[in-house]
């Protein structure tokens, strides 16, 4: 760039001045970094230091700033220059805090600092200041799909916050699952008896709210666009289609009970007197409308004894039924047992459970049921044998270890089957064969059936619905990133996300509403959503270099990239989370961000001074994920956990953004080894970009071929799974790797 003016600043505060030779660092920046304006300061982040930088910006026209001080994660407010390209050399957490303050260590510590200054200068020159995504939309309307408790709560919460809502419900009335309940589990002191569901109140709130536009008997026929500018077609029963401009979407499509007809051994489908929890709610509602006596369906006689079978078709290790616990059914069965006991204490109610789990204040509710005389029996039900108007429940009593235990003459058996998410089409089943290069044949294997009907009908290249994580639930890391899906601006809440009860679903709804509002506000400003919230950089592609290989469109974890008719990538910047996975995937390296590109990292790799093989000073490149690994390294520094002076660390946005050219370049340049530090992947993933670390690792698994062509040992590249808590472990791993490399010997590429 013609008008680029670079300045470098070296801080001498926080002990940097005592531990390092600042004058030498200034000279390095001038000579090796080729920076015309280099200054040092005793205390760069104080008002005087920052004023010095601001003054240079104004009087000298500085556009690119290299700050050699603390970690890029520290003093972000002081060193906030949003209109300028800024690079940070981590001299504090990355150098003096992880090295001993001894005379012997002084030389290597200084060399470390000098390399980081060189790297910072090289990086900042390869950057431009991010300008923000110009392709924005400004719709502030929230689309809520599903009119159950979750959907209605989302709509009400968003409306109260001042955002208009479009609420789409497939059926003819609001209420969803909770609307079918007689009563709900109590959520107020003293937690002793079932309480009113509160659905009627929610429905009237929605109907009375002028900010909420309601479509009943309607489905989402088409969703196009990106956060801030979604265009959604809503198909109604009459056949008419209404088009709405939408800013963000919350999918609250709830669940269906696991089909009890799949449990014939438990009497499912064999007798009208064996029902699931929905069946009992219907009986209870009918009773409440009549004389209050729950009657058995076969002959309409009052129920005198009822057995509840917990975990029916759930927590099944054999793989036939649901493998998970749905979490709500213990409390629900306790509540249903109370329907009987509250009406007539003489009715025998037995709950057969293997592990009673009563979340929330369910423990008080459980105790109340015991006081009311509900019998709780720890056992595993083997068989329900219906005979005439009654059934026999055979089970293994786990306390008395009685394998022949049985309850006979039971009028009604209630099976607590679990929640199956209404998550739409499993797009992984659709796209995986394409990735493998085989003809796409959707598979319907596994415990949870693939539902053929799409909910959102996204026009995205990667499929019509949000991806599922496991067991058909839409993905989100349940602790770190609730509500997040891999479709930016589309959030899921309630039991479609994970099994939950009404109280949890309402909390979920509130959270998702706020997340969606954040997303549409960020989208309008051209900024990224979570986890790089506020980031103004966005991917830019040099299409003339593109070979239409489709790797970026296939790998983008967020479905941000579509294809045009010539199979060129079409970037939807507002859908992008700025992880850089496309950049790592691109074999011809035409994708880059303004402040993060193959060049910004490549230039840093090349800037490091590589001593010759006789110096006994190896060089190890660490590419550390900025979300977990880099903070862990910083915290290791704060704890003064020392590690090798031969490592040079470069933060990366995600392991998925690592382009193999960096590894090849580093090894060719004479680095002795490369460490990749990324987050855990798989079902229990911790990757902030969900699939980034996994995709990065798949890419790196092929690095062995590169090593072979270079005639290098496989130890030269090490992939490490790192969590943010690995503050003690990480320095140990680095030191161990340095020792291993010493045993392997220096790289043969040094000095070329």
């Amino acid at each position: 760039m013609a008008d680029m003016k670079v300045a470098a600043y070296i801080c001498k505060g926080c002990g940097l001045g005592e531990r390092l030779d600042a004058d030498a660092l200034v000279k390095i920046a001038q000579k090796d970094g080729k920076v015309p304006l280099v200054k040092s300061h005793d205390f760069l982040c104080n008002a005087d230091g920052v004023a010095m930088i601001r003054n240079d910006i104004e009087t000298e026209g500085v556009t690119h700033i290299m700050i050699g001080a603390c970690s890029r994660r520290a003093k972000t407010e002081a060193f906030h220059f949003p209109n300028h390209a800024v690079a940070r050399a981590n001299l504090r957490e990355g150098v003096i805090w992880i090295r001993p303050d001894t005379d012997e260590a002084r030389e290597t510590t200084q060399e470390m600092a000098e390399d980081y200054v060189r790297m910072g200068c090289a990086e900042v020159k390869a950057m431009t200041a991010p300008g923000g995504n110009p392709n924005t939309g400004s719709s502030k309307t929230l689309l809520v799909v599903g009119g159950g408790v979750t959907g209605m709560t989302t709509a009400i919460e968003a409306s109260k916050t001042g955002y208009p809502v479009v609420l789409v419900e497939k059926s003819g009335e609001l209420g969803g699952w909770a609307g079918k309940l007689h009563k709900r589990v109590p959520v107020h002191e003293p937690y002793k008896s079932p309480m009113d569901t509160g659905v009627a109140d929610l429905v009237s709130q929605v109907l009375a709210d002028g900010n909420i536009k309601l479509y009943l008997n309607a489905t989402v026929a088409r969703t196009d666009g990106a956060p801030g500018r979604f265009v959604v077609d809503i198909a109604t029963e009459s056949g008419a289609t209404h088009t709405e401009d939408i800013g963000a979407i919350v999918q609250a499509t709830g669940f269906t009970l696991y089909d009890m007809n799949k449990l014939p051994e438990l009497g499912g489908g064999k007798s009208p007197n064996v029902v699931d929890q929905a069946g009992l709610e219907a009986l209870a509602k009918a009773a409440a409308a009549g004389d209050g006596v729950i009657r058995r369906p076969s002959d309409n006689q009052p129920v005198k004894s009822v057995v509840f079978v917990q975990c029916a078709g759930q927590r099944d290790a054999s793989g036939t039924h649901l493998s998970y616990c749905s979490g709500f059914c213990c409390n629900a069965s306790i509540k249903q047992a109370m329907y009987f006991k509250d009406a007539n204490p003489a009715v025998d109610t037995t709950i057969i459970y293997t592990d009673l789990r009563t979340p929330g204040n369910g423990e008080d509710f459980y105790r109340s049921a015991q006081e009311k005389g509900v019998i709780f029996t720890k056992g595993r039900v083997a068989q329900v044998v219906p005979e005439g108007n009654t059934s026999t429940v055979k089970f293994h009593d786990l306390i008395l270890d009685d394998t022949d235990a049985a309850v006979a003459d039971v009028d009604l058996v209630v099976l607590a089957t679990g929640q199956v998410a209404n998550s739409g089409v499993n797009i992984d089943a659709l796209t995986k064969p394409q990735v493998e290069g085989q003809p796409g044949e959707p598979t319907a294997e596994g415990a949870v059936e693939v539902k053929p009907i799409s909910i959102l009908n996204l026009t995205y290249r990667q499929g019509p619905d949000v991806p599922q994580l496991k067991q058909g639930f839409t993905d989100s890391h349940f602790i770190c990133f609730p509500y997040e899906t891999r479709r930016t601006g589309i959030y899921t809440a309630g039991p479609v996300r994970r099994p939950m009860d009404i109280a949890q679903a309402r909390e979920d709804a509130t959270g998702a509403a706020l997340k969606a509002i954040q997303a549409l506000e960020n989208a309008e400003l051209g900024r990224a959503a979570h986890p790089r919230s506020g980031d103004l950089s966005f991917p830019k592609v040099r299409l003339e270099g593109c070979t239409q290989c489709k790797r970026c469109t296939v790998e983008c974890p967020f479905g941000a990239i579509d294809e045009d008719e010539k199979r060129f990538p079409v970037f939807n910047e507002s859908r992008c989370r700025r992880c850089g996975t496309c950049m790592g995937a691109c074999p011809v390296r035409v994708i880059s961000f303004e402040n993060y590109s193959v060049n910004t990292v490549g230039a840093q790799i090349k800037a490091v001074d590589i001593p010759d093989e006789f110096s006994e000073k190896p060089r190890i490149l660490i590419l550390a994920c900025e979300n977990d690994a880099y903070p862990a390294l910083d915290m290791a520094g704060m704890n003064r956990n020392e590690y090798s002076a031969f490592v040079r660390t470069i933060p990366i946005r995600c392991l998925g953004s690592v382009n193999t050219i960096w590894i090849t370049d580093a090894l060719n340049a004479g680095y002795d080894g490369v460490m990749l530090m990324g987050c855990k992947h798989g079902d229990e993933y911790q990757c902030h970009f969900v699939k980034g670390s996994e995709l990065g690792r798949v890419r790196m698994s092929k690095i062995d071929d590169t090593l072979k062509t270079l005639n290098l040992e496989s130890e030269r590249v090490r992939d490490l799974e790192v969590a943010i808590t690995d503050i003690e472990r990480l320095p140990e791993m680095i030191n161990k790797y340095a020792e291993e490399l010493a045993a392997v010997g220096p790289s043969p590429f040094k000095g070329f």
């Binding site: 025998d348 037995t350 009673l356 006081e371 005389g373 709780f376 720890k378 009593d397 309850v407």
Partner: protein, 210 residues
């Protein structure tokens, strides 16, 4: 009771109701949540000394196992250390329930006749209410001869050094065998106890009639 009704009553409230009505603190049995802390805390239950530890007894009551519960020796092993009561997360007065079940089993004649605790309890009560004073010599001899003459002599010989030591220290008077010391108003004490018996009998009879 036919086999069919026996099955029909399993895991029903019948026996639980009987326990709730007849046993002191019996209405607590339904509140057990089967955590097993009582069984694990019981100092007399090491090496599974109890045929059915408290948690299991509670489950058996709910499962309707009437004969097994009332004829077992288990609750007679309780020494009233109160460890279970202190530790029970559901605050069940387990010690009292154990004594309550034992007392009920005894009352309706189901308790095992020669269970040592039960036998000693009877012996002690008879001993101390007879004269209004405990006759330790007679009490210990009564226990020694519980299982017959031979076993009694053998047990006595085994304990003779202790007995001689106690005699030297004037803690044991061999002449107690002739009748021993009494309280001043022996007749008064017995009249008082007879009245207490009468009251209790009437109360429990009323309870059993429901």
């Amino acid at each position: 009771m036919s086999a069919n009704t026996a099955v029909a009553e399993k895991y029903r409230n019948n026996f639980l109701k009987e326990i709730e009505e007849q046993v002191e603190m019996g209405d607590w049995v339904k509140m057990c949540m089967q955590c097993g802390v009582c069984s694990g805390s019981c100092p007399t239950n090491f090496q599974s000394a109890w045929e059915h530890p408290p948690q299991e007894l509670f489950m058996m009551i709910r499962a309707g196992k009437r004969e097994e519960v009332l004829t077992t020796t288990s609750m007679w092993n309780c020494t009233s250390c109160y460890n279970c009561i202190v530790r029970c997360p559901r605050k069940l007065p387990i010690t009292h329930i154990m004594h309550g079940i034992a007392e009920y089993a005894h009352r309706i004649g189901k308790a095992p006749k020669m269970q040592p605790t039960r036998f000693f309890s009877g012996l002690f009560w008879k001993n101390c209410t007879h004269t209004g004073r405990v006759n330790e010599l007679k009490l210990s001899m009564g226990l020694y001869f519980k299982d017959g003459l031979g076993a009694g002599i053998k047990e006595g010989m085994k304990m003779k050094d202790v007995a001689l030591g106690l005699m030297k220290a004037k803690r044991l008077n061999p002449f107690e065998i002739l009748g021993g010391h009494k309280c001043k108003d022996q007749k008064g004490i017995q009249a008082m106890l007879a009245k207490a018996y009468e009251i209790e009998r009437a109360r429990k009879a009323a309870k059993m009639e429901g």
